[in-house]
Symmetry: C2
Subunit: 547 residues, 2 copies
Amino acid sequence: MARLIRWATDGAWFASPGLPQIHLTPADLIECAPSQFDPASGQRRAALLDLPQAPVLTGAEQTAEGWRFAVNSDGQIALRAADLAAYLDPAPIAPPRRLWLKEDEADTGKVDYQAYASDEQFRRAVLARVARQGWALLSGVPTRPDAVEDVVRRFGFIRETNYGRTFAVRSAPAASNLAFTDAGLAPHSDNPYRDPVPGLQLLHCLVDASMGGETRLVDGFAAAEALHAADPGGFAVLAATPVHFAWGDGANALQTALPVITLDTGGEIAAIRFNHRAFKAIAAPPEQRTRWRAAYRALAALIEAPETGATFRLGAGDLVIMDNTRVLHGRRAFTDDPGADKRGGGRHLVGAYADRDGLLSALAVLTGAEADRRLARIEALFASPAMDEAYGEALSIREHMLQTAALADEAELAPALVAAALLHDAGWALDGGAAAHEHSGADWLEDTFGSAVSEPVRLHVATKRYLVACEPDYAARLSAASVATLAQQGGPMTEGEAAAFAAMPGFAGAVHLRRCDDAAKEPARPAPGFADYRPLLRRLIAAHLNG
Amino acid sequence: MARLIRWATDGAWFASPGLPQIHLTPADLIECAPSQFDPASGQRRAALLDLPQAPVLTGAEQTAEGWRFAVNSDGQIALRAADLAAYLDPAPIAPPRRLWLKEDEADTGKVDYQAYASDEQFRRAVLARVARQGWALLSGVPTRPDAVEDVVRRFGFIRETNYGRTFAVRSAPAASNLAFTDAGLAPHSDNPYRDPVPGLQLLHCLVDASMGGETRLVDGFAAAEALHAADPGGFAVLAATPVHFAWGDGANALQTALPVITLDTGGEIAAIRFNHRAFKAIAAPPEQRTRWRAAYRALAALIEAPETGATFRLGAGDLVIMDNTRVLHGRRAFTDDPGADKRGGGRHLVGAYADRDGLLSALAVLTGAEADRRLARIEALFASPAMDEAYGEALSIREHMLQTAALADEAELAPALVAAALLHDAGWALDGGAAAHEHSGADWLEDTFGSAVSEPVRLHVATKRYLVACEPDYAARLSAASVATLAQQGGPMTEGEAAAFAAMPGFAGAVHLRRCDDAAKEPARPAPGFADYRPLLRRLIAAHLNG
């Protein structure tokens, strides 16, 4: 990927499929050069202050491996395409969040513990769900008090606190924390008096209550966004005002002074601390306290509204993993069987804390491995002998697809359309040229990439039928082979078919793609090879896996 | 403490020794009422949305225990002085930071491990030093690989990471991290690719290198403040620009996108992430990248300047505790004994991570317990029969000191001077009325409060001698008893003594205090009791303990 477009003393310009053209300064080029890194650890080895302070680019040439740049008339920087790709476009740290304010917006699917523990794809799905929606549910977790440690071990490490590595959540008299009573608890985040707050909480049900005790989860980010939409000023006060949270029991005196809503440097919500039980005081002057209290109350009303969140009962063996920086959890009051205490029974959950970074790292490793496997399948298909065929054109299907992708890229089509262009005739290798190659290709691609890539592929034949029907001179510009297959494919669309087709959501993209397809039949036209598209394809696969 | 000054429908106004007058709205009063809290856990029990939305104060009366307020004509709020104190003035989360840019600004005292482990005062001193200066040093830690866990257990919990609960820092071939080689490392913070980053790092030396390997610590906050002073724009760019940090080894793919300098909601430095080895790319447009790079380089130049920081050698048994959100650590390259590898020898440190909140909680518990012990000693002295004596005045020493404190408070003297006023004649109870009661009192108070309280006490007699010499009508206003003691105390100062006295740093405060002292001799004047000063005294003691 990333063609070198031009260079000057102040840097080099690159273009790459699916990305806007980018200008890398000489300092950027030095920074992404492999010579900066230790080959064993992958860490930067070069000392920061040894780098040239105001480097100037004095030469650039394309090589078989990538590019070679001269800096300050002497330093040589060899850059492979992959180095540049990693610099230009670091893998996302987490899949994009999906906010859900109401139960029906949350996918409540449980995953069986055995599948989670033994199958990487199930594990990946669970971890991706926590990253995306803020929580996931396992069932069938062995009802041993330490089983939660086995769940954590699959993605990270227990964050031990004053409550222990794990802690029993059950009703006790004169408890040091209201969580350890039978009282109902409004949705809250745990340990707001800790900094850093535990990023994940796990709750594993060993014994269910005889009555009540339902779990209620609320997406705190969705609630905060709803507050932002309704009252941006109130949202801003919650983000700007530190609040004292505290908890202590003689052996502990934990305190923080942090806002209910934490924003990142870009002004996006990074964390929510919401726990009225542990709230002590507002660290602000009286007028701001009053404004803060109104906003806090409005946020609480959103969070506690009956239609907000998801309510369900944790049965024995169920375990919920929650992002404690985002998802608030509560429970209804419960009643144990009257004889429960004497038998050592009664509602019994085991809790544990862990960190988000471990989960996101495990997810990135699993996603990367699966994306590599899928990319290898795509690449094998692309390299298969069937792609050497020409099917009546003057160039092989492989050459035709590379040209189509190059034209799609030059036309600045969306990344998924560039990938669809590159793979639109994949079906020829799958069904040996059967009539419905667009469907066999799309079906095969759908699992790997999702509909953003598969559906444009599926439509590329129908689009020809549409254009023949609706564009007077289109048919005349088609290649002989394309005209020959038209009849097999159903001929021109009827007026009704064409109107329905034009109303489909992917219509415009399909037409763009078809123009590239039709133009990509010139044997002599040079085009980037498959390798140039690897980063693009990998990113699309990873996004589909976790999206 | 906290006298109720007046009330209206929109709240109540309180004044308390050493604090500015404060207005609590009806919502504030409800919020700090003990009825809001569960007596066993100390947590808020009242549901947020059940609180009255726009409460109005309809009544207020002082009671023996504190105050009683009526809200919305019905709700009764009983408030003890202590409830109000905790709301108005929560204990500070951490002692104030002492920044140190150069070695001579850092106190490098080591504490023996046995003292740390077995004596709460030594342990408190070590933890307070980490909170204040960002690091502390222990010696004599048993050279077992797991001894670092014993150090952590005294204040918190190990933060386990991919490197283990603890990890060996020694030179290995083809290491997955440059820390595990013999290379020199520029000062850096650890694990910037983790979020949350481990808040504390411990490094325990089991075997020293035969040559090199010196540890270098730099206060990253002091360096960042120096950058702020020299280039506020550069500082702002570092605080506003997220940077990609990453590290991976096949089983891990850790990544963050966070700024080098993290600010809190008040714009103060909250954390620094500085690790060029793990720095990948700047998440910003080219122009901002260039500005960022210049600021990053300027910060690095400050950090790496030879005159910055503290350099020392960790010998076997030494252990350093560092605040990894603040203090950067580096090492010189080292050489092991050539035979070291074969013997399993060579430089060998054991590292571990932990969290700051546990340390600050342990420190708060230790500080609170010690402050309570010291306050009890002060209170016992104040209640001792010697304080019933009048020494020639028409009221007891105890009544005289309470009046002096009340006058100091009304004159809005600094908190330490109010405390000095309350305790200025404590020496009478210590030496039974010997001539130098100001010195015996000051000596006794110095250990508890430090010089801010003890030195005004020490000067209160000399100030009388000064005023007699320099203020024509002062002597005439003195009480008979005070005139009687003047001769014993050395009589009026000479001109030379008076000039030297007036040039002393505490002169103005001493004169203010003396005026209160002289006026506090009216038997009928009511004054707040000792209990009203407890929060003030406790805060001054705690500040001295950790300051």
